[in-house]
């Protein structure tokens, strides 16, 4: 803070030059005995209040401070008096603690405002402002000193020193970035597989179980058209990372409703399984409208047609929800016959048009 003005108050130096701790010369300008002229500035720009008003304000402020005093005590008392550990008790404790705290803060705040407005003078002081820039002389002094210092240090004359210094800094600067590499494994092809893949489970075809209850689903029991289930892979019910890709919605469709987008070979008895993970940015597409067979993602309202391979009919999602090939095991329970043919969930750079690849493979094989 170089170019600061000493607390100038115009007109003419109201802040007298004195050392802290010595008596103030301001004592000469006593305001005593001038009460009847209250409101008039004894010092230019400082208008003390009317003493009667000031006394009233003092009393109000004192009352406010007293309220704060009592509320503070109330707060401490509430802490001791009201225990928590049940929902109802917590509600009471919260009300008591919060209520007293609010009152205490409010009392203090109002009290101080009344104090400032009622007891302190009204101010209309003027302080000078100066341009931010330092004067030309200072600037050139700094400039010269800077150059002189640079010369003294030798950095300007000795290129070897300069270049090796720069070279030395570069790898050291990179080191922290390198250190961050172990924050995570590389993506590789992890996003292309889910735990449904039988290879992932030593060739075993995973059962579909109901999310929450963990019940396996007998195809014969899930036979009312229009029904919907949220489904997870057996054995991974609590593996959130697996669920973030493997969760399904299971829908029962009437045969006549099924359109060409749906792969019928991957269905079982009118039951179709789609990834529940929205292809937009990954929310669970959890809403289902039975009459229209629309699957709706609550996050940004992408809407998918369950009868037509879950193709997008509205919203920002660009791709259908991938379909999972399902069948039944020897006991009649629904199982996954394979993994999704395309990566599930949000799009990513390396994904490519996986759907087109699958279509092309289908044509060539």
């Amino acid at each position: 803070m170089t170019d600061h003005t000493p607390g100038t108050e115009l007109p003419e130096d109201r802040a007298p030059k004195r050392v802290i701790g010595t008596p103030s010369p301001a004592s000469g300008t006593s305001l005593l005995g001038r009460e009847e002229q209250a409101g008039e500035a004894a010092v230019p720009g400082v208008h003390p209040p009317d003493e009667k008003k000031a006394r009233r304000a003092e009393r109000i402020a004192a009352l406010c401070f007293f309220i704060t005093f009592l509320s503070g005590i109330g707060f401490i008392a509430s802490y001791v008096a009201f225990q928590v550990n049940t929902v109802d008790n917590t509600a009471v404790s919260n009300l008591a603690l919060g209520g007293t705290l609010t009152l205490a803060l409010l009392g203090l705040a109002v009290g101080i405002v009344v104090w400032v407005r009622g007891v302190m003078p009204k101010y209309n002081l003027v302080q000078e402002r100066h341009p931010m820039r330092s004067d030309a002389e200072t600037r050139s002094y700094v400039g010269e000193t800077f150059l002189q210092g640079a010369q003294e240090s030798g950095i300007t004359k000795r290129p070897l020193l300069r270049r090796t210094l720069l070279a030395a800094a570069a790898p050291l600067g990179l080191a922290p970035l390198v250190l961050l590499k172990d924050l995570g494994p590389l993506p590789e092809t992890k996003l292309r597989h889910t735990v449904w893949s039988p290879e992932h489970n030593g060739g075993k075809e995973l059962r579909l179980v109901v999310e929450g209850s963990g019940q396996p689903i007998r195809a014969a029991d899930f036979n009312s058209p229009g029904g919907l289930l949220s489904v997870v892979p057996e054995g991974y019910e609590h593996d959130l990372t697996a669920l973030a890709k493997a969760t399904l919605i299971l829908i029962n469709l009437r045969p006549e409703e099924i359109k060409s987008g749906t792969n019928k070979n991957w269905m079982h008895n009118g039951i179709v399984a789609y990834s529940k993970i929205c292809t937009h940015v990954g929310c669970p597409a959890a809403l289902y409208e039975q009459t229209t067979h629309h699957i709706l993602c609550p996050c940004h309202q992408s809407t998918f047609d369950a009868t037509d391979g879950a193709k997008v009919i509205f919203g920002p999602a660009a791709r259908p929800l991938p379909q999972l090939p399902i069948g039944v095991d020897s006991e009649g329970y629904l199982v996954a016959k394979g993994d999704f043919a395309v990566p599930v969930g949000p799009s990513f750079w390396e994904r490519g048009d996986a759907e087109a690849e699958v279509r092309n493979q289908g044509r060539t094989s």
Binding site: S24, I112, F348
Partner: protein, 554 residues
């Protein structure tokens, strides 16, 4: 009021001791009576500052019990409906704070409300600075610091919101990850490095915790401090008014008046937040349940400051392109980056663009009244409208449900409104600014209605107009023509433009300078004798307004 006598011994002794060692007397001499101007809008920044302090206090309290871990535990606390459910330690400890720590729920709720007020306060404060032109020289650096603070605060809020690991915050985290992974080239790496592998993994809460309680608050504290120091050194701007010039500050001294007022204001902010924390439930995570990527509650809404991103994701059509085996998910990248980019970059660059257009290199300490810089004010209102449309669309499902409008209709409304409404806002604001300027000129020229009816000798009744009160007139007269770059007019007329204004960019600059600058409605218009102080030059700008503004400047 009693006479100041000697400073009491204990204070004199202590301060003497300190001054012997620090020489602080000099600093205090200069600063104790520093003058602070007064205007209600100057308090907005203080709201943000005090909310931040309250965030630090309540947040520190929360850290004493919060466990930033995604390890699974079986919930065994007092909240019956979740007993026996498998939850993360982070979620369990948030419930512990809520139900088993006295004052814990209060602190959690105050913390959350303070986060909202912090960001809201910053936004409104920033609008005040924008509309009054308080970002102009020499305050550009503080403006940039402000933009950084706002951006960081959004991140801070995002990381904090995710910590309790409940179903609602998980939805936000999922969207964040979906956006991160969609970035071209680096998306999957960013996502894998952030989450320590595939989403959600087991690391993100503890990493967010470090960001939320150490890294970002540390930077915020540093930036807030720098912000305050710069404000102190450069002194506050003041509204135009009696006795106020570019070379002075008029107001109350820091000690004792401003200090006490600031203290009271902090306590008010705290009281309001404590009241909200007591009476207005916020983020009842026990109702949402623990996070699972398999579930979501319908009608999930993020905190208000994330709403505009939500809205922009919602109105985006499903564009995605595949080139050479790589995917560019435009339907995610555009809405996630473009509005935020426009708003933040636009804000950061505005002082420099304005200076480039007006060529104004002077220091400014008198705040503009928004009407007196119509183009700036209109741009600001267009920006607010742009933001507002996105924000509103972030809740289009609620709007659709509450007002029985088709969901898709609201989306389509948003897709159109995002382009149309800001333009309308611009035009309407521009006209309003000129209208208000005209009103000012009228008051200066004809005075205000006094309410006194006078009968003239020939029988006519008139209402007596009296000159406006001195301070009001001073307030209005604190207006000056907006500068234009030298020679901007030459490019319009047949004069030869100066060298810098010849190329296409130069010509654009000259045209923008003309539209932006000048005096649209001179205060003393129509009073021939007026203050012939160079207004003539600016009159030339009227009528030669360029581009869109042509019809408006008349």
């Amino acid at each position: 009021m009693s006479t100041p006598t000697a400073v009491p011994k204990p204070i004199a002794g202590t301060s003497g001791w300190l001054d012997d060692r620090l020489g602080a007397g000099n600093f205090l001499k200069r600063n104790m009576r520093k003058i602070f101007p007064d205007h209600w809008s100057f308090l907005l920044g203080e709201i943000a500052l005090y909310s931040f302090i309250i965030l630090l206090l309540t947040g520190t309290f929360l850290t004493f019990w919060f466990k930033p871990s995604m390890g699974h535990v079986i919930y065994d606390g007092p909240y019956e409906p979740l007993k026996g459910v498998m939850v993360s330690e982070a979620y369990a400890s948030s419930l512990h704070i809520s139900f088993e720590v006295r004052g814990g729920l209060l602190m959690r709720q105050i913390h959350h409300w303070a986060a909202l007020l912090f960001i809201a306060g910053m936004m409104v404060h920033m609008l005040r600075v924008f509309f009054t032109g308080a970002y102009r020289k020499p305050r550009e650096l503080n403006w940039i610091i402000g933009v950084l603070l706002l951006s960081l605060a959004l991140f801070e809020g995002l990381t904090g919101y995710s910590l309790p690991d409940d179903l609602l915050s998980g939805a936000g985290l999922r969207i964040t990850q979906g956006v991160a992974i969609s970035l071209p080239l680096v998306g999957t790496y960013i996502s894998f490095f952030l989450f320590g592998g595939e989403y959600p993994g087991e690391d993100v809460i503890s990493r967010f915790y470090t960001l939320h309680i150490l890294l970002i608050p540390g930077i915020l504290v540093a930036l807030v401090t720098a912000h305050m120091i710069l404000m102190w050194v450069q002194k506050h701007t003041q509204m135009p008014g009696k006795g106020r010039t570019e070379q002075n500050v008029v107001g109350a001294p820091f000690y004792p008046a401003f200090m006490a007022k600031a203290g009271a204001y902090f306590l008010f902010t705290f009281a309001v937040l404590a009241g909200l924390g007591t009476f207005a439930q916020i983020n009842p995570i026990w109702l949402f349940g623990p996070y699972t990527p398999a579930d979501i509650s319908a009608g999930s809404q993020p905190d208000f400051y994330m709403g505009f991103l939500e809205g922009s994701l919602r109105i985006m059509p499903a564009w995605e392109i595949n080139v050479l085996g790589y995917t560019i998910p435009l339907s995610v990248i555009i809405p996630a980056l473009v509005p935020l980019g426009i708003v933040m970059t636009g804000l950061a660059l505005y002082p420099f663009l304005e200076r480039w257009i007006t060529g104004d290199n002077r220091e400014h300490h008198i705040a503009d009244r928004p009407r007196n810089n119509p183009v700036r004010t209109s741009i600001g209102m267009a920006g607010i409208t742009f933001y507002g449309v996105l924000w509103l669309l972030g809740a289009n499902d609620e709007i659709s449900a509450n007002f029985q409008i088709s969901l898709y209709a609201t989306t389509w409304f948003g897709r159109i409104a995002i382009f149309v409404l800001p333009a309308i806002a611009y035009v309407v604001t521009y006209r309003m600014c000129l209208g208000l300027q005209r009103k000012d000129a009228d008051i200066i020229g004809h005075g205000v209605e006094s309410g006194v009816i006078q009968r003239l000798p020939h029988g006519e009744f008139i209402e007596v107009h009296v000159p406006p009160a001195e301070d009001i007139e001073a307030h209005m007269r604190g207006k000056e023509a907006i500068p234009m770059i030298d020679g901007a007019e030459a490019s319009e007329t047949d004069g030869v433009p100066p060298r810098g204004l010849r190329g296409p960019v130069g010509r654009l600059r000259a045209r923008m300078s003309q539209a932006y600058g000048g005096e649209k409605i001179p205060l003393d218009a129509g009073h021939g004798n007026g203050h012939g102080d160079g207004h003539g030059e600016h009159h030339a700008a009227i009528g030669s307004g360029t581009g869109d503004d042509k019809s408006l400047t008349h």
